[in-house]
C-alpha cells in the first residue's frame, strides 16, 4: 500500500499509527521480522531518522524488540497485542461516536444503529 501523509501531524506519528495497525491486524504477524529502517524509509519515501524514531517508539511500547545482530521482531506477547488492539479499537469507536453525536444522534441511537449494521452485515455474508 502506498504511503501518504496528512498535513499538520508529525510524520513519525503517522508512521507509528500505521505500523501499530499493521501489527494489530497481523499484517506483521507475532514474531515476524520487520524490514530494516533504511529499507522501510525508502519504501515510504521518508527520512531514515524519522523511521528510526517511529521504530524506537514501538520498541518503547514493547510492540517490537531488537535482537542485537539479526534485526527487529514483532512481539509474541499475546497480552501486549491484545492491549494494542483494544487501544486502537477504542480510538476508532471514540472517533466514530464523536462524529455521530455531532450529527445529533444519542448514545442509544448509535448503539441500536451499530446493532442493525452488524445484523445486516452478517446477513450479507450468509447470502454471499
Amino acid at each position: 500500500m502506498k504511503w501518504t501523509f496528512e498535513n499538520g501531524i508529525p510524520i513519525y506519528l503517522q508512521i507509528l499509527g500505521r505500523l501499530r495497525t499493521e501489527i494489530a491486524s497481523g499484517a506483521y504477524s507475532p514474531g515476524a521480522k520487520l524490514p530494516a529502517v533504511r529499507e522501510l524509509a525508502l519504501e515510504a519515501g521518508v527520512n531514515p531518522n524519522t523511521m528510526q524514531r517511529a521504530f524506537a517508539e514501538l520498541e518503547r511500547d514493547g510492540l517490537v524488540y531488537t535482537q542485537r545482530t539479526s534485526g527487529r521482531f514483532v512481539t509474541e506477547d499475546a497480552e501486549v497485542l491484545k492491549n494494542l488492539r483494544r487501544t486502537l479499537s477504542e480510538d476508532v469507536i471514540e472517533e466514530m461516536c464523536t462524529r455521530l453525536m455531532r450529527l445529533g444522534m444519542s448514545r442509544e441511537e448509535i448503539l441500536s444503529a451499530v446493532k442493525d449494521w452488524a445484523a445486516e452485515a452478517s446477513g450479507q455474508t450468509k447470502n454471499s
Binding site: F5, G8, L13, G45, N47, P48, N49, T50
Partner: protein
C-alpha cells in the same frame, strides 16, 4: 560537532545584501531543507560553502575548514544547472568523476545508471532534461561525502522523476553526512527532511525540526511556508 557552520556570514552584491550576518550550525547525519522564495539567498549560501563566492564578511566552515580544495574533497555539490561537460558521453563522465574524486564509488554509479537503462555511450547532451538531472544526481550521490550540497535537485522534472531523485538521495547518502537540499518545492521534499531552514531576504527566519514544526503549528511545512511568505 557541526559539519557546516556559518558565523556572521554576509554577502553583498553592491548595496544588496544577499545574506546578512547569518549564523547557522548544521550537524552531520541530518537531511536539511534550505527553503525560501527566489532571491532569498539559498544559492548564495551554497556557493559560499563551495568556495564559488567569497564572503563580504564573516565566515563559513566545512568540517572546521575554510572552503577550498580540502573541503571540496569532502563535499559533493549538485549545482542548480547543467554543469557536466556536454560533449562527454555517460561512460566518460564516470571516468571523469573517478579521476576527480577519491570517494567516488564507480560500481554504485554504474548500478544506478543500469537500473535506469541509460545507454553509457549516449552523449550527455542528447539526454532529456529529466534524464540529465538524474545522471547529475547519480554522480553526486555516488560519492561518499561528508556534506552533500544539492541546489534545487528536483526543480523542472516531472513528479515521477522527483520521487526517483528523492529516493536516490535517501537511499545513498552516507549515514554520517549532512545533506543540504535547497528548494521551493517544499511539499515534495517535506517527508525526507529532518530540519528546515527558512531564508527570507538574506536572514534566517526559522530553523527547526520538521516534525516539531508540524506539531507546533498544526500545519505542514509547505502550508506554514505559504503563511510566512504570503505576498
Amino acid at each position: 560537532m557541526a559539519v557546516l557552520e556559518c558565523m556572521h556570514l554576509t554577502k553583498r552584491y553592491g548595496n544588496l545584501a544577499a545574506l546578512d550576518n547569518i549564523d547557522l550550525s548544521l550537524e552531520p547525519g541530518r537531511i536539511v531543507g534550505l527553503v525560501g522564495p527566489n532571491g532569498s539567498g539559498k544559492t548564495t549560501l551554497i556557493k559560499l560553502a563551495q568556495h564559488l563566492l567569497t564572503p563580504t564578511g564573516g565566515e563559513v566552515l566545512i568540517d572546521g575548514m575554510k572552503p577550498g580544495p580540502e573541503t571540496k574533497a569532502v563535499v559533493s555539490y549538485l549545482p542548480d544547472r547543467d554543469f557536466l561537460p556536454s560533449w562527454m558521453n555517460v561512460e566518460s563522465l564516470l571516468y571523469f568523476y573517478e579521476d576527480f574524486y577519491k570517494d567516488f564509488d564507480m560500481d554504485k554509479a554504474v548500478q544506478m545508471l543500469q537500473a535506469l537503462n541509460i545507454e553509457p555511450r549516449r552523449p550527455f547532451k542528447s539526454l532529456s532534461k529529466g534524464t540529465k538531472e538524474k545522471v547529475q544526481l547519480i554522480m553526486t550521490m555516488s560519492r561518499s561525502a561528508k556534506v552533500y550540497l544539492l541546489d534545487e535537485p528536483i526543480a523542472g522534472v516531472d513528479p515521477a522523476a522527483r520521487d526517483y531523485i528523492l529516493r536516490t538521495i535517501i537511499g545513498n547518502y552516507s549515514e554520517n553526512a549532512l545533506v543540504l537540499i535547497s528548494t521551493h518545492l517544499i511539499a515534495d521534499v517535506e517527508p525526507v527532511l529532518d530540519e528546515v531552514v527558512f531564508l527570507k531576504q538574506g536572514h534566517i527566519e526559522l530553523h527547526e525540526n520538521t516534525d516539531a514544526l508540524r506539531e507546533r503549528t498544526g500545519m505542514s511545512v509547505d502550508n506554514y511556508f505559504r503563511e510566512v511568505y504570503r505576498c
